[in-house]
Subunit: 236 residues, 2 copies
Amino acid sequence: MKKTKTIEKNAKIVNKYLNLKLKGNPKTLYDAAAHLIIHGGKRLRPHMVIKSCQILGGDTMVAIPAASAVEMIHNFTLVHDDIMDNDEMRHGVPTVHKKFGMPIAILAGDVLFSKAYQIISDSKLSKDAKIQLVSRLAKACVDVCEGQLLDVKMAEEKRIPSQKEYITMIGKKTAALFDVSCSMGAICATSNQKDISNLSNFGRNLGIAFQITGDRIGVMGDPKMTKKPVGNDLRE
Amino acid sequence: MKKTKTIEKNAKIVNKYLNLKLKGNPKTLYDAAAHLIIHGGKRLRPHMVIKSCQILGGDTMVAIPAASAVEMIHNFTLVHDDIMDNDEMRHGVPTVHKKFGMPIAILAGDVLFSKAYQIISDSKLSKDAKIQLVSRLAKACVDVCEGQLLDVKMAEEKRIPSQKEYITMIGKKTAALFDVSCSMGAICATSNQKDISNLSNFGRNLGIAFQITGDRIGVMGDPKMTKKPVGNDLRE
């Protein structure tokens, strides 16, 4: 019960910050960029950034820009993913391209991406920390693109991937952002590379476990738990 | 004649660097990301980065990562733009989404975007320079998204924009990248903020002039010069 409260408390702080940063003109662009963020999400990745910072003695507020940047990157991937898969609903509301049209949805994803780097570079962190954050976040974004392409190709090829292929794919598609959430949190607290590396590894393994669990529920699980029809991904 | 030779010489150095950085797995992703770059482009923005660096006494090679990053961002906007406009041809070849399909084209744009930040953060520039580059580039990318949305909205509204609206739109859509090309080149050479600001302003004005000229040719000009049917944008 306590854990839920902590994640909710952290989510509130991050939501306030995101709300502040996702305002601008033209309003439609920022409405589209904020659409999924407003309508749901547990803020799991920001929570991981904040907890990783705290565990190494860092202050919560120092981690908020990095935590919000990761959430923006996560949402950027969701917006573009929904276009690629032509998904119609997410968080119980129409996807960004269904509500705003495809061109605005592409731009909404792109502006989330851009804002994430802007927030980090304009934050009050040390120069060293900022460069490490940008470097790791950019590497994670490259990994996510590679992982999503592997996912697209596997779906096209209509064959069951080997265990190694599957782990490579989810390692990039999902675990890269978990990894970078933990390592970014660590960077906000310390310059000790061993600590940063340890949290990076923890995040990666957690991300892989998270995706395996998600895929397993998608195939065998409770539709109330996933809010998606069971077996959908398998049928695809 | 000399000017053409300099831009071509700079283009060769940048092409070599881009070629090196746009290799990876899955190969399809990097083939799609490199598709437009391989098939054309004058490397005008990289040239502006390099010249701005040189004019302030900086070395050409120091400016190459920033020059290549700007070219990646420019190509990222082209790839996503072509999807939004459903354009079929660019540089005399099929657009990325026509050749590779829409999902891969979205990812190709996204990976170009990610690589641009990775190249800067992993370069050998000073920490100060890197942070300034990331901050300015992220701001420019936000501007480009905002400008593209204004462009989309103006097209939808089917009305002639006021001069002020037009200048705001091209200032963001086009001039932001010209601005950042010049200021990034300056940052590679100096920490003098006055020099950086002067080159930033020069780039912005050049970008606005460039887009006005382009739009004017599009309406009244020589189709051989634009490689597009005259009056296309106006008809749209």
